[in-house]
Each structure stands twice: as structure tokens, then as C-alpha cells.
């Protein structure tokens, strides 16, 4: 990730920025991602997310979107995650599609992108759309990593939708039991 992308695309600019996970530590540890990424990766993801607006998603069911998303993340690794993070955290894509993406990013098996995926899921708990926050919580439930406990607790305190709050609490209990 370039310095410009880090400053302008991925770091949260909302009022929640101070309580959301920072990418800095992860980025320092992973200096190999400090490279320019080919433009076609951006295009592939933009087309993928745009086309997915026409799909109706169901929990637990693979879709053309989920299969292609996983395939691209595995193919391009962190360069792919930069693009996905930009699209979701800057809320440049349809909320339902973003939510679907987060569910599958939590579920997929791919160790090299793990930390970036976890960071994005934790960060997305602060998105303005309740649907996206729900997708983030479900992705974190699939990931089952207690690292997210702090961010979930903060998200629960901020959450205005009672039903979503209840669902986040369910995930929190799961992660606390996973410690």
C-alpha cells in the first residue's frame, strides 16, 4: 500500500476514527505490500461489485459474486484487499454487496491475507450502514478471532439498532468463549 493510499483511501475519516483499528502496525510488519498495484485490479473489483448489485444474496449460499471475490483475493492477495478496503470503508459500493463481501472475507481460507481481512472486518464495524456493520460482525464470527473483542465492544456501545446490538453481543460472547 502506498503512503498516499494509506492517508486518503483506507484510514477512516469518520468521527469513529479514534476508536477504530489502525492499519499502521500491521502495515509496518508487512512492508512487502508497499508497492504500486496494477490498475486492472481496481477495475476488476469495481466491475465485480457493480455487477453484484443485481444479485439477491442468501446466507450460507455461494454466489457468482462470492466465488469471484474469493478467487481475486487469493490471486492478488493484499493488493486485492487494498481495493476492497477502499471500496467498503469509503462506502463507494452498495451496502448489501459490501455486507456480502464482508461475510465471505471472514469465511474464506487464505492465511496470507488474514490480517488485512481481519483489519477490514474490525474497521467496517464503524461504517454508516447498519447492513455493512452486520456483515462485518458476521465475518468476525466466522473468523472467530478474539482479537476483535475490543472493536466489537466499542461497536456495541455505539450501535443504535437494538436488533443489531443483540446480534453483535452474540458474536462477542462467541469470541470471548474462543479465548
Amino acid at each position: 500500500m502506498t503512503e498516499r493510499q494509506f492517508e486518503h483511501n483506507v484510514v477512516p475519516s469518520s468521527e469513529f476514527a479514534s476508536v477504530l483499528p489502525s492499519l499502521t502496525a500491521w502495515q509496518v510488519e508487512n512492508s512487502t505490500v508497499q508497492q504500486e498495484r496494477p490498475e486492472e485490479i481496481d477495475q476488476e473489483f469495481t466491475i465485480l461489485f457493480e455487477a453484484a448489485k443485481e444479485q439477491v444474496f442468501e446466507d450460507g449460499m455461494e454466489s457468482e459474486f462470492s466465488k469471484e471475490l474469493i478467487s481475486l483475493v487469493k490471486k492478488y492477495g493484499d493488493a486485492a484487499m487494498e481495493v476492497v478496503a477502499d471500496l467498503i470503508t469509503n462506502e463507494r459500493v452498495n451496502a448489501e454487496v459490501a455486507s456480502e463481501a464482508l461475510r465471505w472475507l471472514g469465511r474464506m481460507d487464505h492465511s496470507t491475507s488474514y490480517h488485512f481481512r481481519r483489519w477490514l472486518l474490525e474497521r467496517s464495524l464503524g461504517c454508516s450502514s447498519a447492513m455493512v456493520r452486520d456483515g462485518a460482525a458476521l465475518g468476525l464470527a466466522s473468523l472467530n478471532d478474539p482479537h476483535a473483542i475490543l472493536y466489537l465492544k466499542q461497536a456495541i456501545l455505539r450501535e443504535e439498532h437494538a436488533e443489531l446490538c443483540e446480534d453483535m453481543e452474540q458474536v462477542l460472547v462467541q469470541l470471548e468463549n474462543a479465548r
Binding site: 439477491v56 444474496f57 442468501e58 446466507d59 450460507g60 449460499m61 455461494e62 448489501e96 455486507s99 461475510r103 469465511r107 447498519a130 447492513m131 452486520d134 456483515g135 458476521l138 464470527a141 466466522s142 439498532h161 436488533e163 443489531l164 446480534d167 452474540q170 458474536v171 462467541q174
Partner: protein, 165 residues
């Protein structure tokens, strides 16, 4: 009185307060994605009034999927259906659980667009909307296989492969 169960995505049903574009008495359109009819019919499941078959039905539904995942559902009092002028027909379900398919599957039939919207309004106002987490779904499917209710061969391979973890 029994209930009808319909699988949903809870996030589509969050109540939106103070939405300027939504007229009084109207409902947002997103929930309708969970009420997609086929041949003007909608697949639902009957849940006994003591909810004794709730986990059984939830497990059967989860077993139809390609991956272990949370399962969200809406539970609506069946008594409300006549008020909405919605007819119910006993039909066979298509899950890997034969008992559930034969005993509890229903179709809401002769649905018009108006009736679907009225149903959505009832679900928004009166239904219980719940989530069964992924971890619980995994446990329920393992239990159903162990008790012989579900044949592992009827599950998608992607689910069978994850049952060990």
C-alpha cells in the same frame, strides 16, 4: 396457535426511524427481497405453538446450503394469515430432512403483490426476528447427522468437509 417461519436476512428488516422519503403506513422495499415468490407462492414452515420443532426446522433449512452459516428467520403468528387473506397449503419441502419436509412445510398460495406487501408489514410490525449463529448451526447439523435425521450424503460437499471443525 402455531407460527409460520420464513428465512430472512435480519439486516433487511431493521426498523428505520424518521425516514423522510417513506410515507406513513408504507414499508421500505429491501425486506421484499426475502419474500420472493415463485408461481405466486412462498415457501414457509409451520412451527408448533410450543416451538418444539423449531430447531428441527432450522437444522433442515441450514442443511440445504452450500456453507455453514448463521440462519436468520422471522416467526409470525399463523393466526394473522386469515386477517391478511393469505391461504396456506400443506406441501412437501425440499431439505435433506424427510420428516421436516413431510410434516412442517407449507406454501402461502395465491399471493398478489398487495398481499406480499401486507405480509411484509406484518413481519416488520409483529414477527419475532431471530438469528441462529454459525456455531449453533454447526452443532445442530452434527447432532442431526448423529441422530440419523440427516444423511451426510445429502449435504453439500463443502459442508461435509467442515463438519470436523
Amino acid at each position: 396457535m402455531p407460527f409460520i417461519l420464513r428465512t430472512i436476512r435480519k439486516a433487511r428488516w431493521y426498523k428505520i426511524e424518521d425516514v423522510s422519503w417513506l410515507e406513513k403506513g408504507d414499508v421500505p422495499a429491501d425486506p421484499l427481497a426475502d419474500l420472493n415468490t415463485k408461481a405466486n407462492e412462498l415457501s414457509v414452515w409451520l412451527i408448533e405453538d410450543d416451538r418444539s420443532n423449531l430447531n428441527h426446522v432450522v437444522t433442515a433449512l441450514a442443511a440445504t446450503r452450500t456453507h455453514i452459516s448463521n440462519l436468520d428467520y422471522a416467526l409470525l403468528d399463523m393466526q394473522l394469515l386469515p386477517e391478511l387473506n393469505i391461504k396456506v397449503r400443506h406441501t412437501t419441502g425440499g431439505t435433506p430432512d424427510e420428516k421436516a419436509n413431510v410434516s412442517w412445510h407449507r406454501d402461502l398460495v395465491e399471493l398478489s403483490a398487495f398481499k406480499v406487501v401486507e405480509l411484509a408489514k406484518s413481519i416488520l410490525a409483529k414477527a419475532e426476528r431471530k438469528r441462529v449463529p454459525e456455531t449453533e448451526i454447526r452443532r445442530l447439523i452434527i447432532q442431526a447427522i448423529a441422530s440419523g435425521r440427516i444423511e451426510p450424503t445429502k449435504l453439500q460437499e463443502s459442508i461435509r468437509g467442515k463438519m470436523g471443525g
